[in-house]
Every structure is written in C-alpha cells, then in structure tokens.
Symmetry: D2
Subunit: 366 residues, 4 copies
C-alpha cells in the first residue's frame, strides 16, 4: 500500500473529501505510526465542520482513535504508563500535546491552557507533511511526546472509542468540581459528555442522579448509566416546569452538584438555579463561543455557589478513563453507546448522524 | 432616662424619622441590653433605604454597632469566645442569628443561608416589642443566641466600626476563594468591602494587589491598605483600557484571584476577564438583585475559572475580623476609614454621605 | 411496669450486674424517653469493661441503640433532619452531645473534641438520676440536645445497629482522609470499623480494596462488603510477607489510601509502609491508649505521607450513615453482620462473644 | 584556565580533598556550563559527609549555587520561567532533575519521589565525566532538563544562597500542610529550614509564631524573621517545661500548625503534642534515617491530627522562593543569614562551622 485514504474537511459546511496521501513508513525518534482501526466522531467535529471553531484547512478530523502501531521511533520504548511498546500493539493516545514549558504548563499547572497546545484532528493542516494527523484516515502519524496508551487485551476498542474524549473531559471537570459519595447530582445534557458525567458521578458514589436531556433513546442510556430519574426536554419543554421537577427530586433545596453538558448557552441559566445554596455548578459544555445570554450575577452571590469551568483534559485523565473502562460494567455501557459504524467513504453520512442526534455514538472504520 | 431615641426608616426613599421608644431595663434569660456608643452606616443601609431589599417597615437600621452592656440575662455569662461578660463591658456582636437546626445550618453547613436567618438593623420591625433591634438608636436589645464579643481594651471602637461588616464579609468570601501567599490579586471596588478585601489579601500574603475603583480619596486609602497599584475608573473610564492596564500589571496572563466588591452587575463582566486561566473569581458585591447583564458563559469554560459566590458571614468570621484588628497596622487603617461622625439627629445627613461616596466611613454617635 | 432492667458495669473486668431502676415517665423540655428495642455491643464496650478507658462507675454501657419514643418533652417536635417526631416513632441518635460553645465547637470547628462532650453508655454514672443513660437497658433517657433520627420504615433496626457506631466513625475518618474514585485502598482490620471502612471506600468509588484481617469468617464478610482481595493474618503471620503481598496488590508502589482499623498499636508500623509515596494513612483504630511502639518518623518524611487521625463523629456523619443504609445493598450487608442476639440477662455472654471475636456483630434485645 | 578546582568528598568523615578537573568548554544540546560564584553549605552536606545518606564516592558536594553562564547548549534559549538566557547571565537552578515519566512523576504527581531523581552535589560520582556536578567547585556542568533561573539584577546572590534549599523545602512542605492567615504557628528548630519556615508562615499571615531552638544567635535571627516569641532549648532543657510554655503561648490548646525542622527524631515526640486538636503537624526535618523513637500512635487519633511529611521540592517551589526573595524585607534577612565565607581551599573549615552551628549560614567563594 503506497497511499492511505483520509476524509478531509476542506471548507466549512462542505462535504468532507476523500483524499489520498503518501503512506508513511519511517519515523523520527520518539514518533510513531499507527494503522487506524476505529475513529470516533465527536460533537466537536460537528462544531469544526460548521466553522464554529477556527482551524487550519484542510484538516483531517478525528481525535478519538484506536489503532495498531506500525512503526515506533528510536527512544519510544514505553507507553505513558511505562508499559513496553512494540509494533503491532493496539494503542490509543491523548489527543493533545502541550509544551510543558510555558506559564500555564509550569508555573500555574494548568496544562490544558498551554499557550501552544495542539490536538490531533483539529490543529494540524493536512497540506503540511506528514499530513496524517487526524483519525479519519487509514494511518496516523504521532509526534514525539504524544501520550500513548497500550490497551490491555481485556479492553475492547469499542469501549475506548465509545467513551471517546467525553469521558476524559468529564473526569477532568469533576476533578475540579468534585462529586462526593452520597451527593445528589443533576446532569444537564445526555450526549456523550452527559452520559460520561453520569458515569463518573455514579462511580464517585452519587446516590441520586437526575438527567435532563433527550431524545428518549438517550434518556434510556442515561438510566442505564446510573440516572435515578430523567426529564425529557422534548416532553417537558418549559424550563420552569423542569425546575419544579428538579427541585422536587432534590427535596426542595437543589442538588449538591449540577453538571452542564449541553453546550447551548441558555442551559447555563437553567442550570445555575438547580444547585442547593452553597452547591457546585460545573460548566462543562460551553466549548464553543455560542454568544451571550441575559444573566443575573446576583444568583451566584445569593446562592453562594461555586461555579467551575473546565477545558479539555490531561494524559492523567485519559489514564483514569481507561482504568474506569477496565470495570466490566462501564466497559459494556460505553461500548454499547456505539450504534452506527461507517467506512471512511461514508464519513459525511456518519457526521450527519451525529449532527442530527440520530445515533448513540457514531464511528468510522477506516 | 425613660425613653430612648432611634432613627427609623418608615418608608423607602423617605427621610428617616427620629422616634422615641420606651427604654428597656429587664431582660429574659440569654438576652442583653446594650447602650449604643457608635453605629456604622453600611452601603447596605443605602440599599435598604432605596427599597432594593425588602424589609419589614418601620425598621431601625444599623448592623455595625459597638456599645456597653447595660443588662445581661440569666445564663449569659460568657461571650462567644468564652470570655466572662459583665455589665459595663464594651461589646460588639454578629449581626445575624441563625436557627442552627435547618437543612442549611445542619446538613450542609451553610449557616449563612439558614432558612430563618434574621439580622439586627434589617429584619426586625420596630413596631413590635422590644422595638430596639437596630444600631441607629441609643439602646439595642440582643436576643438570646446573639454571638456577642467582648472587646479588649486595646481594640478601639473606631477600628471595629470602621471595619464594619465589610471585613467579616471579605473574610468569609476569601475563605471560599482563597488568596495564597505570593498571589497576584485584583480587587474591583474601593468601598469598605473592597478595602477589607485588600486587607485580607495582603494579610494572606498576596505580593501584588491592583485596586480598580475611585474616587481618588478612596484609591489613596486602597494604597495605604496594601494596593501596589490603582486604576481610577473616573480617569480611565474605558473598561478595555482598564483591562489592558490590568493585564500588564499581571504580566499578561491575568491575576490569580480577582475579587468583585462593586455591586454594580456590569462589574462582573469586567472582572471575569481579569483572572488568569485556571484562576479564581470571587463575586462578593452582588448582594442586591440589580438585574441582568449580557454575559458569555463560554468565558468560564475557556478560562477554566473557579467563580465563587459568598453571602454574609458567620460568628467565626467576626472572630477572625476582631483578631485581625488587634494588629496595630490594621487597627489604625480601619479606624482611619472613619471620616464623618454625626449625632442620631443627623442620621439623614449621615446616610447621604454614604450614598454620595463623599466620606470614607460614616458613623452615628447616638 | 414500675422498674426497668439494665446491665451495669460496676467494676472493671467483673461481670455486668443486672440491676433495676425506677421506670421513667416524665420528661423535661427537649428531653425524650425511649423504650430500647435493640442495643449493639461495640468493641469499645470491651475496652471499657477492661478498664482501658476511664469512666464513672457504675455505668450502663451501650451507645448503639434503636428504640421507640415513649415520651417527648416540650419543644422536641422534630428530629435532627427536621422530620416531625411522635410517641411511638422508631428512632436512633448520635451517641455524643457537645456543648456547641467551647473553643473546639466554635472557633476551630472540631466538635468531636468538645471539651465537655458526653456519650451515652460511656460518660454517665448510673447512680445519678435519671440513671438510664446507656443502651444495655429497657429504657433510656435522652437529654435535651440529643441528635435524634427518626428511622424510615424502609430501614430495619438490624441494619442500623449492625452498622453501629463503626459506620459513622469510618465516615468521619474518611471525610478527613478522602478516598477518591479509582483509588486503591488497603484496610487493616476486619472488625466492624474495618468492614465499615471497606463499605465507605467502595461507595466512594475505590476500584481495588485489600483487607488485612481475620478470622476467616470476617474475611468472607470483607469480600462481601467489597474487598477485592484479603490477607488472613492468621495464615500469613509474618508482617514482611503481608507487606510483600500488599505491594504486589498495588502494583509495587503501595495504596493511595491505607486505613488502620485495628486498634493494636503495632498495626500502625505495619500500615505506614503500605501507602504509596505521597499517599494517605488514616489512623482510625487507636482509640484506646495501648502504649508506645518503636517508630521511625523518617518514614513520614521519606514517603511524603499525609497521616490523619480521627476521633468519633458528629450528627452529620450519623445522617450520612443512615442515608447509606437506605441503599438496599448496604442495608442487607450491615444487617447481616449481626450473628448473635442475647437478652439483657445474658449481657456477659454477649460481651464475651465480642471479646473473643467469635461472632459477626452481637446485639442485646432488652 | 585549563583545569578547575573542586572540593571532593572521597571518604566519609574524612577531610574533603581539593582536586583539579579538566575545565569544560563545550556543551551538548540543552546543557550549560556555569562559573560558580558562591556555593552554600547545607546541613545535608554534613549528613553526607558523615555517611548518613549513601552517595557515590567521590562526590563534589554543593547543591545551593549561584554562578554565571559560560556556555549554553543548542536549544537552551530560555530559563524555566521563559526569560531569554545568554552567556554571562547570573543564574541559579533547582538542585534535582526528575524523569517526568515514571509513576510518581506522571500518574501520582509526586515528582519529588521520582524513581530516578538525581541531585547536583549529591548523586553524581566525580570520577565520571563531566565530573563537575557539584557546587563546591569553580565550574559546574548542568544537564539538559535542569530548571535554570536567571536572577534579576535586583536579587543579590547572597539572598539566594542565604535562603538556600531550605526556603524551597519550607515552601514545599507548607504547601502540603498550609498555614492560613491568622494562624498560630510553632516552629521547632532555628537552623536554615526553621528560619525559612518562619518566613513562609509569616508571609502566609500567621499572627503568632513561636520558635523553639537555639543557640541564642539563631533565636535572635528567628525573631528578626518573624517569631513573636522564642524558647532557647539550651536554657529550657526540659521538654515538659517547653511544652508548658508553648501551651501558654497558644492560649492553652496548642498551635494551629506545628512545623518540625530539627532532624533529630526525638523532636517528633515533642512536636506532636504541640498542635491543638484537629491541628496540623508538618514533619519537615526527618530527612536522614536517624533511627526509631518510642512513639504513641494514640496521640494522632485522640488529637485528631493531620501529620504531613514532605520530601524536597520542585522547580515551582524554587520559583516561589525566588519571588519571595524579591521582597526587600526577606531579601535582606536571608542575605543576612550568611555570616561566614571561605575559599574553596578552606572547605573543611567551612563544613566545620556548619557542623558546629557556629555560624549563621556558611558559604564557599570558589
């Protein structure tokens, strides 16, 4: 095979193009080549396709990927956890690389805000060699410094990509706005991040979890993941009515922790009224700048809230995510999120299922 | 003396009326009578006068008070700290009483959100016996359960009332959104809460403090309290310009902690851009519901902020405030805030100086 | 019934005496009378019987009790959680009362170290009226200020007494030395406190738990409670061998959290080597002063440990314990701990089963 | 100059030997050569000389060093903080290098416990090229990855070496066992670490600090650094008497935070009784394994203590230390600690002053 295929975003809101790039064989020290086996489609990919986050075009999308090592550069002898690496190993990796040297990496220990952070499937122009820096392709080239994780045989690729970046995102956010055992939790949104937040809250010992979202097939998933109760925003379309149900669910005072995983900015106004006074509100879904809302800051003072933002995740959180997925219960649930599989040639159809919320999790099999 | 005088708010935005009430002599178990020596006028009193917070009218305002014990009820043998109490002792007290039994007091340990919290000078109707439940009066009646503090001789009343409720408010807020030694801090607002926030940040070891406020006589105080630099919002009226100066002050990234002590809701939009990514933003000034702002929640996610609200304070924080005031440096600064003294008969003139920001701290000498 | 029976400790290491006291009918404001239905025997009772903790003799032991309200004093209208109380209600209560006023209660918020804390079944001399202040009796008199909890019908008394004070003790300790989800935990000791620590660690999301204890019937319980692996100290009597197994269990570095629930001081030396560097070591079992050990403090520095002590619990922790017991899984496990029931007349036999570790949990049915 | 001189430890408890090594001129990428201007003698150097910590011999001691860059390798363009580096710059550096890849570096974020950590002046055999890896020499060779800090002109070398590794050590420890503003603190030991702990506690806002140590010239320093009171262990040689004074100092209950900076293991037994119940005890001085003590673990349970160990420091803490030293007050105090200066030829005399506590801080001027 002298060329590899990739689905490339060449212009916002236009169909991805199937392009061919020279297959790579050689790697410099620390680098790796991976034959992609499965690539997840993340909601962020839709935002990218819509042009809501600006990236260098053309770009090969795909930042949730599992594949097999085809080549490993000199000095790359072990994975992030210290396990030995060999050609043929099945691996996944943290989607971002940070510099480790800037003010945020070093002095303030906020590496997710590294001033020169770059992410596979997002930040690399496909016109520049080695071209293959996204998951929607048959091969991907990993830079030196990528946090690679060798997957244990007991951990199926479907669970890893089913969990996707959503699980590490939820873990990072909940690390900053913790759920304690016995807490009552409300999760806004039942997309991949919402389901992952339910999973982490459940694992952390939350005893009551209310999920607000939809459509019904996602609420069914939410219940399987651990939601004690759900509100279908399609059926209960009035936020005041949802507020009433949520208060009743929490004994009248509100939840200990509320986790926003919606993305639509109006969800912040709905969510901020749902914690009990002195509670926590984790804003996990506002990744894209979707504009302003009319907001009353007095609410934060009066309810004495701890409102927390969270951006991305570090390799540590991928490590925790993969460990969580070693628990059979979670492994099955996250693998089960995948309900639609497409070949690379149908990347546009695949993207459409995500845009339309018509599947659980959608993946490409390049 | 068979009657005592009090300045009473009888109708919003109307002049306070000087009324007479029967002087009290007897107290039930746990209660106390205090001859008021000095009563501070808080910015909240202006909000109350304007009707921005609804309270039972008529009301004797005044929740920052020092006086001498005239009578102490059975069982009231010691102050909150365990020091013995005797008639004639000079005392101050926490302005609020909480039930100690509700969901917020017990289960969630958020006593400032007690469902039946009542505050002297705010929550008690003056038509109801014993009438005298505010500081703008010659005598005040303290309920059983009031957290009374006997003042050491070395601590002048001026320092206690000069610090007022602002200092305990700042201490409570900064407990929830801590300043660590070496931090760079920005304080928005140079009224009593802003100055107190500067003091607490300085005591906690902040090495650089920028105060944004005015007018110039308050910025001069801010520098005395510990601000390394100030921005006069009168002179630099463009928020974009202030943002530029603030960023330069913090080395380009923003402050570790930003403390909003303004009250005007627009200050939240200016303030939320001032912490570094991963920093803390304490909203301390939005006590009154002053309406909505156009706000972008993406900022919280992108900057990965910890935004914290804070409501009131507990007796613990009065204790810490009084201990801070035992340090001569702070004692002198807080006592020095008082620049205007009025007799009870001139309560309206006194209130006006606070409304117009024309004094440092204004007090009544009943 | 004009008298009630009680099993009374009159002299250390001597058999408890069955005595009769005047039955109580009237209560002062805030007080309550309870007809005892079931009283747990705690390991502490054995320490008390052996004279290892000094208490006023004679004393009616018993600080883990469930019964029905026979009389409630004026003003005692609601339980600690705010639920209404009525004669006939089935209740339990926090065993200790604190003053709420001392340096530890108020200033430092360490109420378990209240300078005048008193505990039912421990601190009250049975010679002093109203005599009945311990659970090993048909009736118990509760002082005003006791934190009473009305038990929901769905929560059997067996679960409450099966969990006993051990569960609240574990909750308090782990609050100070937290288990995070995904943590690897080692619990030393498989008595009631050890089992409770396993339960709390499991609920908090620990993914691997090693229990070190015995005898085999208790290790079987430990596995049911959530231990992934157990070491029988009877079978593996060499601490060096146990250390080797524990290290292997934790991947060679040690556990994130080690919880000592043994009581024997030598356990501290074994336990302190078991956390990974930078890990946490919770000393939960050293309630009695059982003397000195030869100890190397360099270990704490070198391993950079956080070593935490914990003393008793607050009503909040009883609340959390009772909420945990509403989860059917835990309810059944804790109720199932009870394997021996005795009438009051056989209190000495009952005490002996605890002393000899020959039962799970032993209770009296007065 | 074709050779450089170094004072070399060739055998424990034997005089250091003055040896010559080939002067270095060339550096590989990322490396640096530094002309040593001043090298501090740390108490650890005495432990090393005594053979209490095993290191590869021969070794050039010295891990507290300031010098000027003579050569900088390719790619080494900026210091740890991002400031540009040039030949001739005056610099200092973190004494240790960690791998950044092991379980402690990555997964558990305890880099001071890196499994392959190496420290200048301690871990490098002087027989192996490039030989010059300790501060007691005219030249030192810095490995790629060393955290180098360019010193601002306003920061004298004396302050940096006067503070030495003690200040970063104290900062790291107190980060784990925090001093809050208003706290009462007891510091055991008035050597460099004790004085640094006083400085950090003072900067963090401690309002009362008791230093227990000696000899008198060091207690005088302790008072200058911020101790409100001191106990001379020479004058008050009975620990029970010291305990009485310490309790009186803290109002009878003990300190909020006690910091052990002695090293002698018996100090742990004295110190552990000095925090108030629920307080913190930071064991900062037990770097060398100096054997066992007879210790009662019940104390930790009964007093509900948080006992914290701390090992070394990270580059972040050097950064904080250097920032602290930019404050003129601290700069002068730490620079003033230096009371003895020796040429390299008198390294043995220098070491002796430290061993005998006969100077403040002793330095070599190579």
């Amino acid at each position: 095979m002298s060329t590899v295929k990739a689905a490339v975003l060449t212009a916002y809101e236009q169909p991805l193009e199937l392009r061919e790039y020279p297959a790579l064989r050689e790697v410099a020290p620390g680098e790796a080549l991976v034959r992609v086996e499965i690539a997840g489609i993340c909601g962020t990919d839709v935002h990218l396709w819509l042009g809501q986050l600006h990236v260098p075009l053309p770009v090969i999308l795909g930042h949730e990927t599992v594949g097999r090592l085809e080549a490993i550069g000199e000095g790359l002898t072990h994975d992030w956890r210290g396990n030995p690496l060999a050609v043929g190993d099945r691996v996944s990796w943290a989607s971002s690389i940070v510099c480790g040297e800037c003010y945020y990496c070093r002095v303030k220990r906020q590496p997710t805000r590294c001033t020169s952070r770059k992410a596979y499937g997002i930040s690399y122009c496909a016109d520049t060699a080695p071209h293959l820096r996204g998951g929607y392709a048959q091969q991907i080239h990993l830079r030196a410094g990528t946090a690679i994780f060798r997957l244990p045989d007991s951990l199926p690729s479907d669970a890893v990509v089913g969990a996707g970046c959503a699980l590490a995102t939820a873990i990072h956010g909940i690390e900053r706005s913790p759920v304690e055992w016995g807490d009552t939790v409300i999760v806004q949104g039942t997309g991949p991040v919402g389901l992952a937040a339910i999973a982490v809250a459940k694992q952390a010992g939350a005893t009551k979890i209310l999920a607000i979202g939809g459509p019904p097939h996602r609420l069914e998933l939410a219940r399987q993941f651990g939601a004690s109760e759900t509100i279908d925003i399609g059926a209960v379309s009035d936020p005041a009515e949802r507020h009433k149900i949520a208060l009743a669910f929490t004994g009248g005072f509100g939840a200990d922790v509320v986790i926003e995983c919606v993305g639509y900015p109006g969800a912040v106004n709905e969510g901020i009224e749902l914690p009990r006074d002195g509670g926590r509100f984790l804003i996990l879904g506002q990744y894209a700048n979707a504009g302003n809302i009319s907001f009353n800051p007095h609410t934060i003072t009066r309810k004495q809230l701890a409102v927390q933002g969270s951006w991305g995740f570090e390799p540590r959180h991928v490590d925790r995510a993969l460990r969580l997925l070693e628990i059979p219960h979670w492994q099955q649930l996250f693998a089960g999120e995948i309900t639609a599989r497409f070949p690379l040639e149908q990347a546009n159809e695949a993207l459409r299922t995500v845009k339309n919320w018509s599947a659980g999790k959608t993946v490409l099999i390049p």
